[in-house]
Amino acid sequence: MQTVDLRGVCCPTNFVKAKLALEMVDAGEVVEFLLDDGEAVKNVPKSLKGEGHKLLGLKESDGYYVLTIEKVED
């Protein structure tokens, strides 16, 4: 599974980078994103879900969050 570290990346760059990462994989593949607490974790998971992808998990881990997303094709 691919992990994309978006810690220290601010809005909206983190979301756009997550979108681009999902573009590069095939439908059904799972990508893990590391997100900062605060604005990033409040916005990115919801936005990706809003784009039709499947949220598999969101867990806090030592000051940051691990978001697991399954790509869903349009």
Binding site: C10, P12, V16, K17, E23, S47, E51, E73
Partner: protein, 315 residues
């Protein structure tokens, strides 16, 4: 997956200061334009209309902080939008925990009320401080040219209000009494002997006496900004309080930089908190004495913390 989707590439440098705001719809963003002081050259306006028509929705939004926001921009068009706006010398604004684009009234070039050149100040602050990361929360600056204060300067993190200090040349005074009639603050009274009595404590530096005087007996001897710090609106509004008077226009950028440095330091570890709440926590004397170091002639002797505005009035 189609080939063109695979090839989407974005220049992340364009996104560094923010200004691209996620919309409800898939792939769609609002692009907030950088319009310091709300001044929009007609040639730029034409370019914006062109870009909006090509990449955006059916309308643009005029934000309350004098920006034009392009609506329904697909993120894949970011680079093209930035490049084409650039042809018209139009840049993208910021969002997040940064110094925002300053607002300003029309200023003094064509508005007869304006006492100082707020447009020049807004442009200078935009050029030198725009997008500076605060590390904590947004940071707004606004310029009003006179005490009418159309831009509501005291609701900014640092708010500037144009001010002049009047002085009477008794020999030139013809005792017409117009200034006493015009002064809304009761600072000028006509004495029994036909001589004017000036009460400096009542003066709010509006300059109405200078403007109305037919014999130029009232003169401007000092000009600059009244500075209030710690204001904001939102869910828990604060009105900024007085920290400096008659700050010269050319010291504005240095002054804001000094306030920012204090904020960065004192809000360390406090999370997403505006400067007004930090002043309440630290007490205004801490910021006053920091500012006094660099601006002794202009910083006031004492002040009070930003004042809480109740919004649930009548609840």
């Amino acid at each position: 997956m189609s080939e063109d989707v695979k090839k989407t590439s974005i220049d992340f440098n364009n996104l560094k200061a923010g200004g691209f705001i996620k919309e409800r719809g898939k792939d769609l963003f609002t692009v907030r334009l950088r319009v310091p002081g709300g001044r929009m050259p007609v040639s730029r306006l034409k370019k914006i209309a062109e870009v909006a028509e090509k990449y955006g929705g059916e309308f643009v939004h005029l934000s309350v902080r004098q920006s034009i926001e392009l609506i329904n921009i697909n993120f894949k068009s970011f680079d093209a939008v930035v490049a084409e706006l650039g042809e018209g010398d139009q840049k993208v604004a910021s969002c997040g925990a940064r110094v925002r684009v300053p607002t300003a009234c029309g200023g003094c070039e064509y508005n007869p009320n304006g006492l100082v050149d707020t447009q020049r100040s807004a442009l200078e602050v935009d050029r030198k401080l725009f997008g500076t990361e605060t590390g904590h929360h947004k940071f707004k600056v606004g310029f009003a040219g006179c005490p009418f204060d159309c831009p509501k300067s005291a609701t900014n993190d640092v708010g500037f209000q144009g001010a002049i200090w009047p002085e009477l040349d008794g020999d030139a005074c013809i005792s017409c009494g117009l200034c006493a009639k015009s002064c809304t603050e009761g600072a000028i009274k006509m004495g029994e002997d036909g001589k004017l009595v000036f009460s400096p404590d009542n003066c709010n530096y509006c300059g109405d006496c200078v403007k109305v005087c037919p014999s130029e007996a009232w003169k401007t001897v000092k000009k600059g900004y009244t500075v209030r710090i710690g204001g904001k609106w939102g869910r828990h509004p604060l009105v900024g309080t007085l920290f400096a008077t008659f700050l010269p226009e050319e010291r504005v950028v240095d002054f804001i930089a000094c306030v920012l440095a204090w904020y960065k330091e004192k809000a360390e570890g406090a999370g997403r908190v505006r400067i007004g709440d930090i002043i309440i926590k630290e007490g205004p004397d801490s910021l006053l004495s920091r500012l006094r170091g660099g601006f002794p002639e202009y910083v006031v002797g004492k002040t009070i913390p930003p004042q809480v505005i109740a919004t649930q009035v009548g609840k």
